[in-house]
Symmetry: C2
Subunit: 498 residues, 2 copies
């Protein structure tokens, strides 16, 4: 078995080269490719992704993985065992997926992405609808091809994103969250406190925002020798290689806060990536962090740190120095403005309180879509209805409604991770505050200490534990929205004086 694991690792080295190449191409595609070269580049990406699929799933590889899995107790190294388990899991999920099916799926996702861009620009869901149907169908087919799967397809999709968490867990979780958020929101709405927001749409040149973004990333502990900052349409972070965690952002001249919190959020993902254990890389089990774990960290930096009184105090002098446009804005006014609660249409611009409601709309929509409870034509109408119901807003067009997010161009199950992440981080925040003088460290800008704690506690076992095991190890408890709701209530009762 020890010799076989070496054979396996040789194959994984090659697979890693393909992943690396595709990572570079994907990053290029999302950040820089000229408009008339998009289509050809997408073809190249699909081709190499399909080659990667063939390298990862073929008779020889499958037999090797099955053999190792059946004799894994003979492996001395615990992480080798973990690797074999992960590969077996992937084998189980993919064994009935042919390379042709995989390519067909990539092509549909590429086409749906391009069509979505067009539909969004033209604010017309009907343009997107036919290919959206293909996305729904092929995403479900891909699950149906699995031999050993959960009876409900959406459960399987959810578990692909956040292993072990299914509708049975998420329905009560989201109900409790929804109730708490709506209650808090009604208190905020009733508050007479007025927050100054006139300066939020002031024009700020992009080169100043660029300089400030670099300052923030360095301040928070992002290592530029192992990453870069680029621009894109929809910000993301990309783990291109072991020493290459790339952050992207989008600068708007008239929404400087959008970039600032995007940078802190994506920087959080990147700090997590830059601090994965070397042994996880050496054992080819890196990249097994779930979406919920990742979002917990990115939203920890974005909200718990980035929107705190202490962080605003820390960055205020540099902000005023960089943007003389805001000289008339006090530190307190800035703190309140980054925490304004206002039900709105767009998820990515939502505040901490209403954000969860945006997710709940998507969770409920995905349940309806994947469980065949809604026709494809009815989707925008239902979306708009839920926005009215939970957020009290009228959706003026599809671009600001059902077409706003990119996620559904390639499947379902991701959205809940954002809300789950918010709840994870509020849970481990309580432990962090017990062990460190958190506010004091932020005031001093001592991110070395904060990141060290995150590395030793939050990051350390993320590649080897399931989310349920991980949050239990970290906090002694199971996923619940309680800590998050308590955190919100404490923070916002002070801001809105109730």
């Amino acid at each position: 078995m020890e010799k076989k694991i070496d054979i396996l690792k040789e194959k994984l080295k090659l697979i890693r080269k393909y992943n690396h190449a595709i990572g570079i191409m994907y990053f290029d595609f999302e950040t820089i490719v000229p408009v008339k070269a998009r289509e050809e580049e997408a073809d190249v990406l699909d081709y190499f992704s399909n080659e990667l699929f063939k390298l990862s799933h073929n008779k020889e590889m499958d037999e090797l993985v099955i053999d190792l899995y059946n004799h894994k107790e003979k492996l001395d190294d615990e992480l080798d065992k973990k690797l074999v388990e992960y590969l077996y899991e992937s084998y189980e999920k993919n064994k009935n997926i042919t390379p042709e099916f995989d390519l067909k799926m990539s092509n549909i996702f590429s086409r749906s992405y391009n069509t979505w861009l067009e539909a969004k620009e033209k604010k017309d869901y009907k343009i997107f609808m036919p290919v959206f149907k293909d996305v729904i169908d092929i995403s479900k087919q891909a699950i149906e091809l699995r031999d050993n799967r959960l009876p409900n397809i959406y459960d399987e999709m959810l578990s692909d994103c956040e292993k072990g968490l299914i509708q049975e867990d998420l329905d009560p979780f989201f109900n409790e969250l929804k109730e708490g958020l709506l209650e808090l929101l009604s208190k905020i709405k009733a508050s007479k406190h007025v927050i100054r927001d006139d300066f939020l749409s002031r024009n700020v040149p992009i080169y100043k925002q660029e300089a400030f973004s670099k300052y923030l990333l360095e301040l928070n502990g992002y290592d530029f020798s192992k990453g870069v900052l680029s621009t894109t349409e929809h910000p993301f972070t990309s783990n291109v290689a072991r020493n290459d965690a790339r952050v992207t952002t989008h600068y708007y001249e008239d929404m400087f806060l959008s970039n600032i919190f995007s940078i802190i959020h994506e920087g959080g993902h990147a700090i997590f990536m830059q601090n994965e254990r070397d042994i996880d890389h050496d054992h080819f089990i890196n990249d097994h962090i779930t979406n919920g774990m990742h979002e917990s960290v990115s939203r920890f930096y974005e909200n718990i740190v980035g929107r705190s009184k202490e962080y605003i105090h820390l960055i205020y002098p540099k902000l005023i120095e960089t943007f003389e446009e805001f000289k008339d804005v006090s530190e307190e006014e800035l703190y309140e403005a980054v925490n304004i609660v206002k039900p709105s249409l767009i998820r990515t611009e939502a505040d901490e309180v209403t954000y969860g409601l945006h997710i709940i709309v998507r969770y409920e929509m995905e349940k309806l879509i994947v469980n065949n409870k809604i026709s494809i034509e009815e989707i925008p109408h239902k979306w708009n209805e839920l926005y009215k119901q939970y957020l009290g807003v009228d959706v003026p067009n599809d671009s600001e409604g059902v077409l706003q997010d990119v996620h559904w161009t390639s499947g379902f199950g991701y959205f809940p991770s954002y809300a789950i992440g918010n709840c994870y981080n509020a849970m481990y925040l309580n432990r962090l505050k017990n062990e460190l003088n958190f506010e004091e460290l932020i005031l001093r800008g001592d991110f070395a200490s904060i990141n060290k704690w995150m590395k030793e506690n939050v990051f350390v076992h993320a590649n080897v534990l399931t989310p349920k095991e991980w949050i239990k190890e970290l906090t002694g408890e199971s996923l619940s929205p309680k800590a998050f709701l308590a955190y919100l209530n404490e923070k916002y009762s002070k801001i809105y004086r109730f």
Copy 2:
């Protein structure tokens, strides 16, 4: 044969995908990869380049190419014939190169590039020397492996860059050029005319340079829907795909002209790329433009257009508007400053007159190196001696001397192309001026008309003619420095009043 050509084209489609992928990765490597990810990315690049080599050169492919070549008269399409000839040529050059040899060569070039960076930073040729020896050896070995080759290795290298031009052609060419340049330079040195240059090192923020670079590229006719502008250490242009010609530059706060002429030069390469014929792409014979042809075009835009009185008049108002730093500089002062002649150490910063002398130093050095007329230890000494002799300058260290250019990290034969390009463009300039009102078009910023002429005359057959055929078709004459020397004498006698 018609069926075989289709089989061939299917293979070339796949090869094009690999070229596209490698183009993206190479661009990433040169523009953005973080420092600690360089080595792993270089490995990935070498791996896929080697896979590309294996796809391009293998028994099946060789047999197909030989068969088609031996029956090419049966092909109906002239461009199909041309394709088969090109592939046969490539087969002849590579048939004895094993994939292992190819990979070894890539690895040496990657290593030499990294070592060169270090040596240049530390200003120490001795650091570079051992790997430079490997570069020399393997570059020569690669030529020696060819069955049908010119007896002299350096001739073969020269002909790889500028097909058909060898030392027998270049020795008299460079002698005439050298004589003409030295004579002109002595007249300029004797001139009492003083050109104002105090403003050239004024600090200019990079964001202003960025804005101005975009203005220049658009003005000159570069199409941003089929390309992008990025930054790099050593500017280059990259033909990533049919609709993807990428320009790079390097901004220096205290040398704003460096970026401006870099942009115009690289933009020239890109305009050439963006105007390759569709049928050349369709027949897989694009990318057969020689270095000399390409440099003729880039240096046409950089010098003949970019450093002309009319172009300076055209861009002066925008320049003053963008950079208020130069409000006290008149149009005439700017024109003279961009044309100051001053023998210097660095090729890429040289003026039009002394530039050729930098190339002649390199040509003479390459002859010595490849023809075994100098030991590896003596190279810097000889370099410094030639700089003293031709340019009259003392080389203070290796970074500003023999280590300044990247080219020798991966072989020999490219440098002459720059000087050849200067002479080609001066030759076709005469015809252009006969057929168009050139100065008037520049004054009006009518690059549509200039580029149309370039496309219909200079670009049109570049992929299907040898340089000798091409310049003959274009001008009725053979390569000579006469037109270039006449152009320089006319221009600089006016500037320096002699």
